[in-house]
Amino acid sequence: MRIRVVGLGARLVILLTFAVFFVAPVLWLLLAPTKSDKALITNSPFSFGDFHHVALAWKHLDAFSSHIFRRWIGNTLFYALSATAITLVAGVPAGYGLAIGRFPGRRLVLSMTLVVMIVPAAALVLPIFLELNAVHLIGSSLSVILPFSFFPFGVYLAYLYYATALPPSLLDAARVDGCGELQTFLRVALPLAKPIVALVFFFSFVADWNNFFLPYVVLADSNQYPITVGLWDLLSATPSFNPSVGGGGQSVNIFKPELALATLIAVVPVAIVFLFSQRALVRGLVGGAVKE
């Protein structure tokens, strides 16, 4: 009995230690914009300042480079939403076609999709850059949106769903009723796959929103940056970590509270998606690869 109690206690201590490791930085980030740069150093790390400082930090952040922060958020929304739209329009039907089809080359397309899906996205960024550079697409918003819209994981999720969960008799019934191939898809297969469409939307949107490497490489004008690269730009303008940036920070008023607020705002959309779709995301994470 005593051994069991000790074991239980040890388990709980380990779990709580890791919970602190995962949660404390998030908590700190939530509280940081409520304090002044000086109070961040002098006050307790988890103390709450006041909302006046949040407003002040926003004022400084918004004034940076004539409202460029708003632009970054707008750019990110534009890139992620357009790319996700193309992903859905091209990817979900592709998964369907691969699941019901028997055309030559089907296995090849499927295997390639699987391989590219597992190859880390970062491995393809420089090759994509070199390719876009050769066709002079660098610096255009298309050079971000088009590569983003190639999302093999979405195709695979749709394929998996249609190959395992869609009864073929349903499609045959639709065909007997006189539906063409397109109508069968639009009226029968697509409405059935609503949960998958939602899943692909979330995964694609989150992946696009968080991507740093590709836009960092293919965009040159800071007016075109998404928020991930914007955060880096902000960091390179502040002396908060690197005093050699010099007077820049004084004139742009970007210090730690402003950086923390910018980071917080940058993750809000993804955090919302996480909170509201945690179950679906988790199911996709597990189900996306479970064959049994």
Binding site: I14, L15, F18, A19, F22, P25, V26, W28, L29, A32, P45, G91, P93, A94, Y96, G97, I100, G101, R102, F103, R107, S111, V115, I118, V119, A122, A123, L126, P127, I128, L130, E131, L146, V155, A163, T164, P168, L182, N210, F212, V217, T228, L231, W232, L235, S236, F241, N242, K256, T263, V267, A271, F274, Q278, V282, L285, A289, V290, K291, E292
Partner: protein
């Protein structure tokens, strides 16, 4: 799942009879250009650049040898390897350990912890690196006593001393990604039949023996998947060192990781052939891992 096997066999039988040899193809057509232009063509073009010179003439492995001889090449790959080893070690020990600890807990307690572990995943990318810059700055960090006692750091520059970087990057990657893997492992543990666990318990196995001798071997496939995938991802490291370098007074070289070196060759020196050679090195690692997982893992379904 027997029913889905039956229905798909039935589907195959009806389709073979029909004249619909190209059925399904039109639905794949809009996706094909994306697959070709952003999946296959970049790979082929990178290969083409890697084996040619500026004028487009064939040079064999010259670019690979040339970049290998670059004084920054070996350090960059060493850094990446050190980082990846630390990260994989942490994933194997802590992700599997935590998943086993959570499995078999009261459901609500377990769900709460899984959510807490998973939450930082929302901050992937540059946001996570910024958060950790704060955490590593002893003047504002809530963990300043840890920085002082573990890293011996009293100012930010000491926290990001070169020897610490593989551990720091591994910690950031672990912080954002471990929760997702814990959820995956937990899901895999849930597929273990209850009877099996019950039988082991009746045979007198304690919770630790059940975890290590029964559960662990049964999720081996998933652990292997996590390790291979993370190894491939780890070698591609770019965002973390690139951002830390920006904040580092030039302490951290801008060619710390292999991908950064390739980036610098392309951008600073306009050496696209050299950049392509390193990109191909990295791509080969990623492809090898992907092919290994797809052909050996049995986790993904690519046939009927």
């Amino acid at each position: 799942m027997a029913s889905s096997v039956l229905t798909s066999e039935y589907a195959g039988a009806t389709r073979k009879r029909g004249p619909r040899a190209l059925q399904g193809l039109p639905f794949v057509l809009p996706y094909l250009p994306l697959l070709i232009v952003f999946g296959i063509a970049p790979t082929i073009y990178a290969l083409d650049l890697a084996f040619t010179d500026v004028g487009g003439g064939w040079v064999g492995f010259h670019n690979f040898v040339r970049t290998y001889d670059d004084f920054r090449f070996i350090p960059a790959f060493k850094h990446v390897l050190a980082y990846t080893s630390v990260w994989l070690g942490a994933l194997m020990v802590f992700v599997v350990g935590l998943a086993l600890l959570l499995h078999g807990r009261a459901n609500r307690v377990s769900a709460t912890f899984r959510f807490l572990f998973y939450m930082p995943g929302a901050l992937a990318g540059s946001a996570a690196v910024l958060v950790w810059l704060f955490m590593l700055d002893p003047s504002v960090s809530p963990g300043s006593f840890l920085l002082h006692h573990v890293l011996g750091a009293d100012i930010f520059a000491q926290s990001i001393a070169p020897g610490n970087l593989p551990f720091i990057f591994a910690m950031i990657a672990f912080w954002t990604g471990a929760g997702g893997w814990i959820v995956v492992m937990y899901g895999a543990l849930n597929t273990i039949p209850h009877d099996l666990e019950e039988a082991a318990r009746i045979d007198g196995a304690g919770p630790i023996a059940i975890a290590l001798r029964l559960k662990l071997p049964l999720i081996r496939k998933w652990i292997a998947y996590m390790v291979i995938l993370s190894f491939a991802t780890g070698t591609q490291l770019f965002v973390e060192p690139q951002i830390v370098q920006t904040a580092s007074f030039g302490l951290v070289p801008d060619t710390w990781s292999a991908n950064q070196l390739a980036y610098q060759l392309a951008f600073r020196y306009a050496d696209f052939n050299g950049a392509a050679a390193i990109a191909v090195d990295l791509l080969v690692i990623g492809l090898a891992a992907a092919v290994l997982i797809v052909t050996r893992g049995g986790l993904f379904r690519a046939e009927d």
